[in-house]
């Protein structure tokens, strides 16, 4: 069965090459038979990769330990879901998953848009070219082929197991979401490339790229959030985001894509910023590749990085430069045809708002990129490697983030072209009042532990929320004046202008996220060594160490401590932090116990069981963390509302939305 996967990967090489060549030939000669060859090659390459992925799943299911990849990532004692998820637990398998997803997107793109005959040849050429590169890595680079077999004398009866940190429910889906997001940006990239290559610079490609970007962006957002959730529940350091290079690698394309999703509206409404939008699409995908290179080549030191192979990094860099040179070269060549017809008429206009938004996003991207690459930059410039800590990102990122938050409230109130001051002031009246009231109240309540940045963030959150409520109320009132009932008015609001009102929900999600982020200003921690019967206290809370018991699981052992949580003397919960040792991997893991409310999380880690029988606990008190997950859900709900095909019956045509079932 694994031979099947091995040869499917080899065969896919030929098919992808065919797709690339046929696509280019069709693009140059405009011959439809070549275009058809390219389209079919894209589909066949997907079928072959499905076969490869499936046979690797089977290998993990059947525990074929003659495969080096299965032997290093799975073990008999692992439960089945983790055994299957081990497929993306290492370098080679996750590369295969990446390649499969790219092929899946390619097949979907050429199927959904098959009537778009002018763009399609170049689209399939670009996508097949991308798949081809990953196939080359999978087939020919050491440690990158999951079907590599061990020599017979090295085959063992059991594998060495998956990294215990990855044996967590969130890890079953986090990589899937992340990769669905990251690879998805290949499609808008290919369409933008095709539009420039074929000189079809109308509105078709723009509509298509926007939809695919939105789709990929939604999944990337979910992936990033799940990554944070995993870090919070597994890593046991009390936080969800550490500005680690691997985290930043997924954040950078997200920032670029978010900027694009905003500025694309300026092009749709006012036919401006065409070059800028193309630049952002190119940047987004380039950053996806850059991030992948960063995490897989060991270019920048990270706690989570994959294995370091020099040749891998060099190949990846070469490919990245090639793709970027092709795209941006084409952009320079076509730029005379992309000049804007319209001019910015007023600084107080929606388009100016979007422009500021874009500049801020670029600044944020600059901060993240500089911070991530700082060790390399300083090594090149000064000869000494220096790194920057989270303080760098927080200090520089916070003002930009707050400016963006303010803009989230203000910019949607601006009219296109030119906003009238009187109207604008009227719309800003209630939000401003609520901002002032919130700031004053919070300053008073928190006068003993004053943190102006957090208070500003929360007050801005109130400001933005008020503008959103006001916008909804205004639109609903107008509809209800025309005789629509409340439920019908809301339904129509989304049907008629889903992008605007769905977008507000996304913004509301961002507000919740910021509320949660700002809570970190009030984080507290406490380290205590306790014997059974003793307690630790923090504020109103008291934790009494009741007992400890040995854990006996199939795959790991260790200790579970039981502590009773009291709030103001009242019993609230039993907390059970664990300290496990995974036998096979010889790795200890602390599983924190989290008591979560809307106001704060109590996050308890069993740091160690000491030699004298006492236990050392670390307690983190993290306010408002739940709002991050609530914000994430709201955010995704909003994105779904924006993407939902409310008018599917009437749409049709060559460019419908990407399939929502994936």
């Amino acid at each position: 069965m694994s031979d099947l996967g091995f040869y499917a990967l080899r065969l896919a090489l030929g098919v992808a090459t065919l797709g690339l060549v046929a696509g280019v030939a069709a693009g140059v000669t405009q011959r439809s038979d070549w275009a058809e060859v390219a389209r079919r090659a894209t589909l066949i390459q997907f079928a072959l990769l499905c076969l490869a992925l499936l046979s690797l799943f089977v290998a993990f299911y059947r525990l074929d330990f003659e495969l080096a990849y299965v032997a290093t990532n799975a073990a008999r004692s692992m439960p089945l879901p983790y055994r299957l998820a081990a497929l993306w637990g290492g370098q080679a398998g996750s590369l295969l998953l990446w390649c499969w997803m790219l092929a899946a997107y390619s097949a979907a793109a050429v199927t959904v848009n098959r009537r778009n005959t002018r763009l399609l040849p170049w689209v399939s050429a670009m996508l097949c070219g991308n798949v081809l590169f990953f196939l080359l890595l999978l087939n020919f680079v050491a440690n990158s082929n999951p079907f590599e077999t061990l020599p017979p004398q090295a085959v063992m009866s059991d594998g060495s197991g998956l990294n215990p940190l990855l044996q967590h429910p969130v890890m079953l889906i986090h990589p899937l979401m992340l990769y669905t997001g990251l690879t998805g940006f290949a499609v808008p990239f290919a369409f933008a490339f095709a539009a420039m290559a074929s000189n079809e610079l109308g509105s078709d490609w723009l509509r298509i790229t926007r939809r695919w970007t939105l789709f990929a962006w939604c999944f990337l957002s979910i992936g990033i959030l799940l990554g944070g959730r995993w870090a919070y529940e597994v890593l046991g350091w009390g936080g969800y985001w550490a500005w680690d290079p691997v985290e930043n690698a997924s954040l950078m394309p997200w920032i670029a894509a978010t900027a694009y999703l905003h500025s694309v509206m300026v092009q749709e409404k006012r036919d401006m910023l065409k070059i800028w939008n193309l630049l952002l699409i190119g940047l987004t995908y380039t950053l996806c590749l850059f991030g992948t290179m960063l995490t897989r080549s060991g270019l920048v030191r990270s706690v989570h990085a994959f294995a370091q192979t020099e040749i891998f990094g060099q190949l990846f860099l070469g490919y990245l430069l090639l793709v970027a040179a092709l795209f941006f070269g084409l952009l320079v060549w076509r730029s005379p045809r992309l000049r804007a017809q319209n001019q910015l008429e007023s600084v107080l206009s929606r388009e100016a708002g979007f422009l500021v938004n874009n500049w801020l996003f670029m600044a944020l991207l600059g901060v993240v990129l500089t911070g991530t690459m700082f060790p390399k930059l300083s090594e090149w410039l000064e000869g000494v490697e220096r790194s920057v800590g989270p303080a760098f990102f927080n200090l520089l990122g916070a003002p930009i983030g707050l400016a963006l938050l303010l803009l989230t409230g203000v910019a949607p109130l601006f009219a296109w072209r030119r906003a009238t001051k009187a109207r604008l002031l009227g719309q800003l009246l209630w939000p401003t009042i609520s901002f002032v009231v919130a700031a004053a109240t919070l300053s008073f309540v928190l006068r003993e532990r004053f943190a102006w940045l957090a208070i500003l963030t929360w007050s801005l959150g109130v400001f933005v929320t008020t503008t959103i409520i006001q916008e909804y109320a205004r639109a609903l009132r107008a509809r209800m004046r025309h005789g629509e009932g409340p439920a019908r008015a809301i339904a129509n609001l989304f049907r008629k202008n889903q992008r605007r009102y769905g977008g507000y929900i996304v913004h509301l999600g961002m507000v919740f996220l910021f509320v949660g982020f700002a809570g970190a200003a009030f984080n507290q921690e406490l380290l205590e060594n306790l014997r059974v019967g003793e307690s630790l206290s923090h504020g109103d809370y008291r934790l009494e160490y009741r007992s400890a018991r040995a854990i006996e699981a199939q795959h790991y052992g260790g200790a579970e401590a039981r502590l009773a949580l009291f709030e103001a003397g009242e019993p609230r919960a039993i907390m059970r932090p664990e300290r496990r040792v995974y036998w096979l991997e010889e790795q200890p893991v602390s599983i924190p116990s989290i008591f979560s409310t809307l106001m704060e999380d109590l996050y308890l880690v069993l740091t160690a069981v000491e030699a004298d029988g006492s236990a050392t606990f670390k307690l983190y008190r993290n306010p408002l963390v739940n709002w991050i997950w609530i914000g994430g859900l709201t955010f995704v709900l909003g994105t779904l509302l924006v993407m939902w095909p409310f008018r599917a019956g009437r749409a049709g045509g060559g460019a419908s939305a990407p399939p929502s079932a994936f």
Binding site: A142, L165, A307, A363, Q587, T607, A608
Partner: protein
């Protein structure tokens, strides 16, 4: 696009100002710029500011001092496997170890004898103890290539 240029200049100058203020603050404060060095580089230099030092925990050197809320251990330049053959029993060998005092008990899960770690903190005097405020351990199972290479040799 003179209006667009205006906006750009406005935003860029605000950001430049922020950057200047921030870099100023970062130079002084903790958690800002930190030198990253391997143990050999660190020992050779006379850095007394904050530093991140990469090394390997000397087997048997970890002492958890619970009453004092401290963990003490020593770092060595190269991995334990390589050192096993010529274990530094001489005082000259020991001198190349860096004694680390970590003020805390919550060491990472992967922190143990022979672990590859990065300690963050500073040395008060040249040749003195390294006072660590943070200890990071690397994920070994993700270093599959490096691990299998050294094992096969």
């Amino acid at each position: 696009m003179s209006k667009g240029l205006q906006i750009a200049i406005g935003v860029v100058s605000v950001i430049a100002l922020l950057g200047w203020a921030a870099s100023d603050a970062l130079q002084e404060g903790a958690g800002g710029f930190v030198y990253y060095q391997t143990l050999g580089e660190f020992s050779a230099s006379d850095v007394t500011g904050r530093a991140r030092v990469h090394g390997y925990v000397v087997a048997g050197s970890i002492v958890r001092d619970v009453p004092a809320r401290q963990v003490r251990f020593r770092l060595q330049e190269s991995p334990a496997q390589a050192a096993q053959g010529n274990a530094p029993t001489t005082t000259a060998g020991r001198a190349r170890h860096l004694p680390v005092v970590y003020a805390g008990l919550e060491t990472p899960d992967l922190f143990r004898d022979g672990a590859e770690v990065v300690v963050e903190g500073q040395r008060r005097a040249p040749g003195g103890d390294f006072l660590a405020s943070n200890v990071l351990a690397k994920c070994p199972s993700k270093f599959e290539a490096a691990g299998s290479e050294s094992a096969s040799r």
